[in-house]
Amino acid sequence: MRLLRIVPDNTKFRIVHWRRLAYPFSAAYSVLVLVLFLTVGLNFGIDFRGGTLMEMQAKSGKPDIAQVRQTANSFGFGEVEVQEFGSAGDLSMRFALQPGGEIAQQAVVTKARAAFAEAYEFRRVETVGPRVSGELVQAGTLGVVLAIIGVLVYLWFRFEMQLAIGAIVGTMHDIVLTMGFFLITQLEFNLTSIAAILTIVGYSLNETVVVFDRTRELLRRYKTMPIPELLDLSVNSTLSRTAITSTTTILALVALVFFGGTAIEGFALVMLFGVMVCTYSAMFVSTPVLLYLDVRAGRLDQGEELAEAKARV
């Protein structure tokens, strides 16, 4: 049996050279993300915006979306977003946060349940009050920031500051691009999205660390090789692994998108996009950043090299 070979042996792609293409592209995209963020904004779910979400399934199998919309809007709780989703006649209704605190939110649920309980089965009801949603925003942001700081410190100890900076630049890039995905698709941004972003942070670093691990090794081995060449070699020699791991991850996520059900579809889509971005950025963003940071300066004193040599014995 002939085995698959996605990446041929001994590739010699001039990866860092392509930054002339990759950097303007990433910069333009980042600007677009910023503009979209300020103009369109994220489609915050009720976790962060507060309000009420109800998912119902028509007992008859055929939801009357127009009638539901009309009834829901007649409650006087402001504009109600009614949408059809999935395939089994599911509807979702989103009520905005009601003025009048927590008790007012509960009134929405009571009224909607009473109005639709006959023809529909309530599959999901979520209400988030104004205080809780504020705290969730804080906790989410804090989580992402803490994760980045934690990783920065770890990489600083394990590698060099320069490599740590390169990895973090790549990670920030991936976060920005993923936010762009949320902005462009207007996919709902909720607690699960924070989980997706933190997972992407982890995956992004994972990708970068694999390349940088090689960079570190090559720096020790070839003391005089020009940095651009050395970085190219780092990426090329890990290229096969990068391709295979990305593919397995993408395969798993594709299974999740198509078979995981509507409740998890958003998460899976974001992760799918994120994994592709991470693969791209580890090669074309993080690695070329090292060109601008003097990676040979103060590198690896003798002590560390000895330890390394010992470890190999």
């Binding site: 934690g150 997972t199 692994r241 295979i244 299974a255």
Partner: protein, 536 residues
């Protein structure tokens, strides 16, 4: 590294088989697990029995998650009122007159005592009101006082509830409220409700598999403070105007003096009035309540007695005859459902303060079941795709990676069962994701072997170098992932936390399977097949 020690192999296999075996109880029904636990001889330690299974999160088994917050302002207000009463009592006992009465401030009271001699009498008494805040135990008293008393030279005395004092009050109120809520939820007859404190002033109530979450909320949200008071003359002093439910919310004058309160009830049951067939609640008092109630009904024959629940008058019947037996009934504009709820509330007792629902998440059982099905489907398809792809790339070594992958998934499930962790929908997504990322360790090792072999090393040397060189990379890349996962665990809540648990366990098990199982399988292969080159 390619030498195999029989002892080591057996040990590794035992650990892995045991780890995977931990996942087996999930295949049994809860009844079967219970039967095993009861049927097993007592000398077997419980943790060895196949009875530990994962709990399904509310998003998978269906149920309600309700977060309640205690009303701080309400509590502080009652603390201040109590403080005012205490101060008034002390003034009376010490026979000190006041200039301008006792003033209420947001966090306390103030009064003006011009005479220094009076102040000298009062201050020690006021200071006695302050109690040390109890963080007794490991750290001893913390030295904080519940009330801060300040005396100004111009005669102004201020008594303020301290931050520590109000926090202590909130802490105690939340503890009390948890007890009350537990009794209320238990009365609904649901299985395994989970009630826990969150932060200082919140309580999380999780009730799985509930048919009617609306009813749960009705029962949780009510304060249920029951009082028996007399209907008074509108012009009399010490009267509250309270809305009356049986007269369409019209306010009626009710005396401030409370005859008996809900805490003196020992039982309350829903019933039907024999004459009118209206739903009512029958109740019984304890001895103290029965005495007071008997006395009040004897003294006030022919007058109206108001039954007040949460500052609303449910009904105000005329006292026809003295009620000395210690039992009675509450009638009003009730439905069968509302008397059932009221009886539960009265039996469970009143909440110490008003509580509001700040977050609610309810998932119907149908959606949960669908999610489980979809999750299983996605897991199986992801596994098959990844296995096919790995075998396509690496042939025999792909099979080894696939075995490691399957063991990895079983280990995650096994560890989650052992820890009694909760599997949520994001958790299932986490499993599917780790199916994609777990093979990374194998890929790193294999690619390194291939590289080393291209550099002209012999097969044995390439295999060894592959493991050794890839190991540092595996550790580094997994630790960075682990940091992100731990941040997620620390800050996430509910379902997201379920994802973080899976992710963290997944990272640990993939490292373990890569360095032990993969290595062992390759060594076995080398020993039996005596190959001359890598099979890929």
């Amino acid at each position: 590294m390619l030498r195999l020690q029989a002892r080591k192999v057996i040990l590794v296999l035992l650990v892995l088989v045991f780890g995977c075996g931990l996942a087996v109880p999930n295949l049994f029904s809860p009844e079967t697990r219970k039967a095993i636990e009861q049927g097993a001889p007592a000398w077997i330690p419980r943790f060895l029995l196949p009875i530990h299974a994962m709990t399904l999160g509310l998003d998978l088994q269906g149920g309600s998650h309700v977060l309640l917050e205690i009303d701080r302002a309400d509590l502080i207000r009652s603390q201040v009122t109590q403080l005012r009463d205490d101060v008034r009592r002390i003034l009376r006992e010490e026979r000190v007159g006041l200039q301008g009465g006792i003033g209420l401030t947001p966090r306390g009271v103030q009064l003006r005592v011009p005479e220094a001699a009076d102040r000298a009498k009062l201050m020690p008494k006021f200071r006695e009101l302050a109690q040390p805040i109890g963080t007794f135990g490991a750290f001893g008293p913390s030295g904080n006082q519940s009330i801060e008393v300040t005396e100004n030279p111009d005669g102004l005395i201020q008594l303020n509830v301290t931050e520590a004092g109000s926090n202590e009050r909130i802490r105690r109120a939340v503890e009390q409220a948890m007890e009350v809520l537990r009794r209320r939820v238990d009365a609904l007859g649901t299985t395994e409700p989970n009630i826990q404190r969150q932060g200082l002033d919140r309580i999380l109530v999780q009730v799985p598999g509930l048919q009617d979450p609306q009813r749960l909320k009705q029962i949780l949200g009510e304060t249920a403070k029951l009082q028996f008071r007399m209907v008074a003359d509108a012009n009399a002093g010490d009267v509250d105007m309270l809305p009356s439910q049986d007269q369409g919310g019209q306010p009626i004058p009710i005396s401030r003096q409370v005859i008996v309160e809900g805490e003196d009830l020992i039982d309350a049951q829903p019933a039907f009035d024999q004459r009118t067939s209206q739903p009512i609640v029958n109740f019984r008092f304890n001895i103290r309540g029965a005495q007071r109630f008997g006395q009040a009904t004897t003294e006030n024959l022919g007058r109206q007695l108001a039954i007040v629940l949460d500052n609303k008058v449910i009904s105000a019947p005329v006292i026809q005859s003295p009620i000395t037996g210690g039992s009675g009934q509450i009638s009003g504009n009730f439905t069968v459902e509302s008397v059932n709820n009221l009886a539960i509330l009265l039996r469970a007792g009143a909440l110490p303060a008003k509580m509001t629902i700040v977050e609610e998440r309810t998932v119907g059982p149908g959606l949960g079941q669908d999610s489980i099905q979809a999750g299983k489907m996605a897991t199986i398809i992801a596994t098959v795709l990844v296995i096919l792809y790995m075998i396509g790339n690496y042939g025999l070594f792909g099979i080894i990676a696939s075995i490691a992958l399957l063991v990895h998934v079983c280990l995650i499930l096994g560890l989650m069962s052992l820890l009694g962790a909760t599997m949520t929908l994001p958790g299932i997504a986490g499993i599917v994701l780790t199916i994609g990322t777990a093979v990374d360790s194998n890929v790193l090792i294999y690619e390194r072997m291939r590289e080393e072999s291209h550099l002209g090393r012999s097969l044995v040397s390439a295999l060894e170098a592959g493991f050794q060189r890839a190991f540092a990379t595996i550790i580094d890349s997994n630790v960075t992932m682990l940091i992100a996962a731990v941040a997620l665990f620390a800050l996430g809540s509910g379902p997201v936390r379920g994802f973080a648990v899976v992710f963290i366990l997944g990272i640990l098990t993939t490292v373990i399977t890569a360095v032990t199982l993969t290595r062992m399988l390759i060594a076995l292969w080398y020993r039996w097949a005596r190959p001359k080159a890598l099979p890929f």
